[in-house]
């Protein structure tokens, strides 16, 4: 029996040979260059292109955030650098690049230097599995969704590194808050994703989008009520996971100054900053891909519009909602954050999983309701029942809304 690595290597060789043939590179390469080198070079080129393109996203997002917040707050935002302030992020980046490289003397120097790159790399690596349009995805993996969950969890490692290595109490507070928060919210987030996997049986992101390509009714979000709720849980957990208001406790300015990146300045701070916006984009992109049909057009007659327009449109819509939340809502307290996750999101997620499973089973057995000679599938029945159940729950929930009054 062959070693799995050998099998993998053979596969890579085969793919590369195929690719070389298709691209007709045979003549272009200097003779005698080993195939492995060709593969490596190709991967490096792809990676460089991908990172360059992806690094542009946070730059756009930073400007967008500044403009959005400005209009929310009755201001104009940046107007000076470039037309309509378009170049202000670049100017800021250059400024940060030229700043003095400060490492606090009492810090753990190696960890302190490493931390921003861990956060940055972990958040950017996830881009590989997101399909921006019909034919292209950087890494078309069968385990794409799993890779996203796995790699995005690495971010918290970088954050803890930063908080610990800074040797500052505020940083430590931020890091510990981040650890508790991100690890907790990963669970409802994972459960929401799991529902989709249960329904389709694939983890390949491209396949997931193709499954939704029929139109708005095929989006997982609108398949049945449990997925609808799941989409919201996913989005809110994602907001919590990328530390944005109302869940921005790890960097709560009014409480712990800047949290885990209090001691960072210059280009290292820029890395955290870029990673933060890249994260916001990525979770939105994943949400758009998983629940809102990714690059697929909402209506079949619009399918002439390129997929990337739909993909970016949906993603930017979600990013805008994140900004809307941020510039409207106050921040929750750390205990409220935890109770929201463990007392509300998690039980709801479990009910969701159960419901999605039951529906999938009923669907497979073709069990439904007869209504005036019309056959209603289990999903249709659940949609009809949904508003009533929601109203009922809302009525029950009214008893719990009085804020807890703690003794002085």
């Amino acid at each position: 029996m062959k070693h799995p690595i050998e099998t993998a290597a053979e596969q890579i060789r085969a793919t590369a040979a195929e690719a070389t043939e298709t691209l007709n590179l045979g003549g272009a390469w200097p003779a005698g260059l080993p195939l492995e080198t060709v593969i490596l070079l190709t991967l490096v080129v792809i990676a460089v292109i991908a990172v360059t393109v992806v690094a542009g996203i946070p730059i756009v997002l930073v400007l967008m955030e500044r403009k959005v917040s400005a209009y929310f707050q009755n201001r104009l935002g940046p107007t000076r650098v470039g037309p309509w302030g378009l170049l202000v992020t670049l100017a800021d980046g250059i400024k940060l690049l030229f700043k003095e490289d400060m490492v606090p003397p009492s810090s753990d120097r190696k960890l302190f230097r490493l931390a921003p790159y861990v956060v940055f790399a972990a958040s950017f690596a996830v881009v590989a599995v997101i399909p921006p349009f019909q034919s292209t995805v950087i890494g078309n993996m069968d385990l794409g969704l799993f890779l996203y969950l796995a790699i995005s969890s690495l971010i918290v490692l970088g954050i803890i590194m930063a908080g610990w290595a800074s040797n500052s109490k505020y940083s430590l507070f931020g890091a510990l808050r981040a650890a508790a928060q991100i690890v907790s919210y990963e669970i409802p987030l994972g459960l929401a994703v799991l529902m989709i996997v249960m329904a389709t049986g694939t983890l390949n992101m491209q396949h997931l989008v193709m499954d939704q390509a029929d139109g708005i009714h095929a989006w997982y979000m609108f398949r049945h009520p449990f997925l609808f709720i799941g989409a919201f849980i996913y989005f809110l957990s994602a907001v919590a996971e990328v530390n944005r208001t109302p869940f921005d406790l790890p960097e709560a300015e009014s409480e712990i100054v800047a949290g885990y990146h209090t001691e960072y300045s210059g280009i290292r701070f820029a890395y955290f900053f870029l990673a933060e916006y890249a994260n916001a984009f990525i979770v939105s992109a994943i949400c758009a891909t998983l629940f809102m049909g990714g690059w697929a057009a909402p209506f079949p007659f619009l399918s002439g519009v390129p997929g990337v327009v739909w993909f970016l449109g949906k993603t930017m819509f979600l990013v805008f909602i994140m900004m809307w939340l941020r510039w409207t809502l106050p921040r929750v307290r750390v205990d409220q954050l935890m109770s929201l996750c463990w007392k509300y999101f998690l039980p709801i997620s479990f009910v969701n999983i159960l419901g999605a499973g039951v529906l999938a089973l009923l669907e497979r057995e073709e069990i439904g309701a007869q209504l005036g000679g019309m056959f209603l599938s289990a999903e249709a029945v659940s949609w009809i029942a949904f508003p009533f159940v929601l109203a009922l729950l809302g009525w029950f929930a009214r008893w719990g809304t009085e804020p807890v009054r703690r003794p002085s």
Binding site: S69, F72, Q73, N74, R75, K169, Y170, F173, L176, R177, T245, P246, D248, L249, A252, E253, S254, E255, I256, V257, W327, T328, L329, P330, R331, V332, R333, V334, D335, Q336, P403, V404, R405, R406, P407, S408
Partner: protein, 382 residues
């Protein structure tokens, strides 16, 4: 190596919050003894902004002290001035040399003080939102505050430290279009308060953050010497403008809003409601000025000698500033320089309860408390 059975030792962490911290409202330093996120004790350390006001005042002629009072509670400078000026005027009256203040000056004083109260409460509202994590209310609050400061600039040239209220009146007359601009602002502002309440006051997260946090009972509040909106937040109906009317406050009809249980939200809400009452007072003052034909009256100040020499004696006079009872104790030896000036600061008493209020709460609650008692370090340290 330590024995494996030994439990992991934990210790309290001392976190020095401030004097440079985004939300300690100035240069306040809090020594927090924390166990994780829980604060076992918060000890306030003050004095970083001490400027020796009381000693300075002992070497300055009376009228030169007024600009120094501006710099105590720089958020509500007009109210500070009014307290001092009224105290000196009272001193003159007690000594049998009363200054007759023109009717117009009385009204102008009330109008500018109430406007300044609105500006101060707006700042409290905005920064409180920021402390809780909502950044947008701050900018809305400053938009309205900006209008008020613009009006102040019109009448006295300054936007923060006015030196406007003088012995016997005010330093300058109102500009001709002042009351039009003010009325326009008031009608716009009243609507804005509703939108602020929608945006922040009744926000679910905001309620969760402030309701039931740091409850101060009436008894305890009185024991600590709390006054102003903080005391009213605990449910005590105590407002010097109503209970010991000074200046011409007895001519206006207004309510004294009070809270229910004395938590952070109640203290905050009292301020929001007080802004409405201030709008009412300003409106009534403008109406009365119009009725009495005072708007065109050129007489806005009595002639008072720069070498004002109050007769020998002492006086304690307190007024209701946006932060509570601000008291001035002045001792005169008959010269043009007071022999002693002592200030009773409402913020100082409010901050003194910090240790008691914060016991066992979370770090985020500490910020909520500081914001809710609305302190100005300039007045505490003086």
């Amino acid at each position: 190596m330590a024995a494996p059975t030994k439990a992991l030792r934990t210790d309290e962490m001392v976190l020095s919050m401030g004097p440079q911290h985004p939300s300690t409202h100035g240069v306040l330093r809090l020594e927090l003894k924390t166990d994780g996120e829980v604060v076992e004790e918060a000890i306030p350390h003050i004095g970083y902004l001490h400027r020796n006001f009381e000693k300075h005042a002992e070497s300055l002629p009376y009228f030169q002290i007024i600009p120094y009072t501006d710099r105590m509670d720089y958020i509500a400078a007009m109210n500070n001035e009014l307290g001092f000026v009224l105290a000196v005027e009272k001193l003159m009256e007690l000594g049998g040399k009363p200054i007759s203040i023109p009717e117009k000056a009385q009204y102008i004083r009330v109008v500018v003080c109430e406007m300044n109260r609105i500006a101060s409460h707006l700042l409290a509202f905005g920064t409180y939102g920021m402390d809780i994590g909502a950044l947008t209310p701050f900018l809305y609050a400053f938009r309205d505050r900006e209008t008020i400061l613009g009006l102040f600039e019109d009448i006295c040239g300054a936007r923060l430290l006015y030196n406007y209220i003088r012995f016997g009146g005010v330093s300058r007359d109102l500009t001709p279009d002042f009351h039009h601009k003010l009325r326009r602002f008031l009608s716009k502002f009243e609507k804005n308060i509703d939108s602020y309440n929608t945006l922040l006051t009744n926000n679910k997260i905001f309620l969760e953050r402030t309701k039931g946090v740091a409850v101060m009972s009436i008894d305890k509040a009185i024991q600590y010497g709390w006054t102003g909106p903080n005391l009213r937040g605990s449910g005590m109906k105590w407002d010097l403008r109503k209970d010991e009317p000074y200046s011409i406050y007895d001519r206006f009809d207004f309510e004294v809003p009070v809270g229910e249980i004395g938590d952070c939200w109640d203290r905050y809400k009292v301020r929001m409601d007080e802004m409405r009452e201030s709008v009412r007072i300003v409106r009534q003052a403008l109406d009365q000025m119009e009725e009495k034909g005072l708007l065109d009256d050129p007489n806005y100040a009595a002639k008072v000698s720069a070498k004002l020499r109050p007769p020998v004696g002492e006086v304690y006079f307190r007024t209701e500033t946006p932060r509570g009872d601000l008291g001035y104790y002045i001792q005169s030896d008959g010269t043009n320089v007071p022999s002693r000036v002592k200030v009773r600061s409402p913020c100082f008493t409010a901050l003194s309860a910090m240790r008691e209020l914060s016991r066992g709460l979370l770090v985020a609650d500490i910020i909520a408390i500081i914001g809710s008692i609305d302190i100005v370090m300039g007045e505490i340290d003086r």
